[in-house]
Symmetry: C2
Subunit: 411 residues, 2 copies
């Protein structure tokens, strides 16, 4: 049982779709049952988003889901046509086929149920099932999407239901690196990484995999393999067993530049004020991160946190109502920030990592705006322009320039 997912950059052109069709047909001819999950072609999702935003700054999420889901439907139909053309039985399935039932808010719905029987019926007949990623249908019959990068989640959910040995995520990079190679030229490819480490990486900027997909894979113990659709490679395996875990204190450095810092000034300093302000955001599906509350004056406080830049305007709209009701000062936005995170199981045991990180940044004259930490991660929010110098310096100082990687092994 093989589950493969192809991202947008790997299905940008007809030629790429034909190439994938040949690979899939070859595997199918060997008798493997195959499910292929596809994303929208190239920049189609951006194009559709731009159309929506040209008509409204805050398009309704139900309509947006209906709009964006078409991108993946197009790709799945085309791949199915390409497979049939070369004599490989294939059928495409989009949201309308109710293969994946969802619940929860539009644009980041949860998967409730997968129609395993429908999948097995086709797979048992030797038919390749091509699934439009990123989408499902809820109990009201509305198309819902699974959040940015949601095709990964589709693939993992199908792999979990079908109990596949691994879920292959084809992308435009060779796997998971110790840092973004565009920012850190000496970044190394990791041959293995644990779910927990990958969760922190995905959460804090390594955009190879959708965070929720990694969580889902972790919970259902679906090994993931991230690999390139452009080059032959072993890729990076993400599972419960790390390699050389004890050697490395830090496994990677992530950088997230897609967040906005929101500060609410002069809110009453009463118990539960943070919950009052943030709860309406969370119930609207907005993920709130790196929250810090400062005592600014005797009876008032400042609340600072970050949200995804995509959600920033909606967050401000919601906050404005709350602030009017419970009192408070200004709502300030800052888009010129970045979040740098050190990730690794070593963070748990090596308590000096945070201190060393802060010292390195201080030596570089980089001002730290916010700090957050978990057992496996330390994150700092800095001004965006600091990334260029801070990232390579941290990569070197924590011994990642010299990390053994599968890329080295292949040379």
């Amino acid at each position: 049982m093989i589950i493969q997912k192809y991202g947008g950059t790997s299905v940008s052109t007809e030629a790429q779709i034909q190439g994938i069709a040949h690979n899939v047909a070859h595997l199918s001819a060997q008798g493997n049952p195959i499910v292929v999950v596809v994303s929208a072609m190239g920049n189609e999702t951006e194009r559709l988003l731009n159309l929506a935003h040209s008509l409204s700054p805050t398009p309704n999420r139900r309509e947006l889901d209906l709009l964006l889901s078409t991108g993946e439907q197009v790709t799945s139909a085309l791949l199915s046509i390409a497979l049939q053309r070369i004599g490989c039985a294939a059928i495409s399935m989009g949201a309308a086929h109710s293969l994946i039932r969802t619940r929860g808010v539009h644009s980041s719905a949860y998967i409730n149920w997968v129609d395993e029987l429908k999948l097995r019926r086709y797979l048992d007949a030797g038919t390749v099932v091509v699934v439009s990623g990123f989408q499902g249908v809820n109990d009201e019959g509305d198309i819902t999407t699974l959040g940015r990068g949601g095709s990964d989640l589709t693939a993992v959910a199908l792999a979990a239901v079908l109990k596949a040995r691994e879920c292959q995520i084809f992308t435009d990079v060779q796997g998971v690196y110790t840092a973004d190679p565009r920012l850190v030229p000496r970044a190394k490819l990791l041959s293995n990484i644990t779910f927990e480490e990958m969760l922190e990486m995905a959460c804090f900027g390594a955009q190879v995999l959708q965070l929720r997909a990694v969580e889902f894979a972790y919970r259902y113990n679906v090994p993931l393999r991230v690999l390139s659709c452009f080059e032959e490679c072993e890729g990076t395996v993400i599972d419960t067993e790390g390699v050389n875990m004890e050697d490395a204190e830090i496994r990677g450095i992530a950088c997230n530049r897609d967040e906005t810092r929101i500060m609410i000034t002069a809110v009453p300093d009463i118990p539960g004020i943070a919950a009052k302000l943030l709860a309406p955001l969370i119930t609207n599906g907005i993920h709130v991160d790196t929250i810090v509350q400062n005592i600014a004056a005797a009876d008032s406080t400042d609340l600072t946190f970050t949200v995804s830049r995509l959600d920033a305007l909606k967050a401000v709209e919601i906050l404005r109502t709350t602030v009017e009701n419970i009192g408070g000062g200004e709502i300030l936005l800052d888009n010129t920030i970045a979040k740098i995170s050190l990730i690794g199981v070593g963070v748990r045991t090596h308590t000096d990592i945070a201190a060393r990180m802060f010292q390195i940044l201080a030596d570089l004259n980089v001002n730290i705006l916010l700090i957050a930490a978990s057992t496996m991660r330390i994150s700092v929010i800095v001004k965006e322009e600091a990334v260029e110098i801070a990232l390579p310096a941290l990569h070197k100082a924590f011994g990642l320039d010299a990390a053994v990687s599968s890329a080295d092994n292949l040379q």
Copy 2:
């Protein structure tokens, strides 16, 4: 109760969608319940078709339906977003919402049932319902499309179910003309035309309305109004009452250049041979027209007919199997033909019309390849290059250059 349908050229750009949103919001604010049916934006359907054909010369129709239906889904979501933006409650519905249930073959499915209760629930709440045209869902949960121009059928079916006073079809022309103005500069706009006449016009090349939509409107007596979305105009009303019907022997001249002539040579001359050859085409949803059988030799015959050019390759594929089974010679294709039809209730009573038509063509040295006729129409198949001279000559000879039209009335 207002039903409006906007075709592809009227929803090509964001600005056009905004324009429609303003008109619809204005009507809605006056308390009118409104359903709007939309086509795919501009050339989106062509773009998707080209993508499919670049991957396969004969793409599977199930996959093609899934692919093409996305075009209308995009437009309905965008129009709904544009309406909400200006404060008009709106909801979009695509195939996935099971508003329209279908049966029959992919790419030209039949409408079985419309969920009137779902429509009324939103309409009663003052919400504009924006429906993705051209599509429905069948009992297997597959998306099916209603044939080329199928958004017209969607609009008519909704108008019938909701018992609307008229169904407004917005297009890029001012209404129905006596002939195609691009081919006949003296063509006139008709203010009224009967369903029967329009059926013949739609069937034989006046591509303002989908043929099946006119049939459906005729059967359920839904008056249609074809009008321009670019200019204020009264348009053409299509209903059971014609105006000046007794005056005009011929109401219009249609020209169809989207057909292919197929000739099968040397088939055995036995009873039922035409049915044997053509039945497999018809069961595959291919419309066969203008059939002529010639006795070529003592025991064999030639069968000639026309099909839509889109269906030609598929038709040949099906015919090849049949011809192998029952015997027969070559299958010849000719794409360089056009069908010219004279249409009007007068054909019934003025028996000399056919003779006059043939004489006019003979005087122009235009060779007639096939002839077909009904009570309200005479059609001839000619070489495509003859259209340019034949059409204006026939238009003039049958008194249409001088026809009274609503365009004249407005001047």
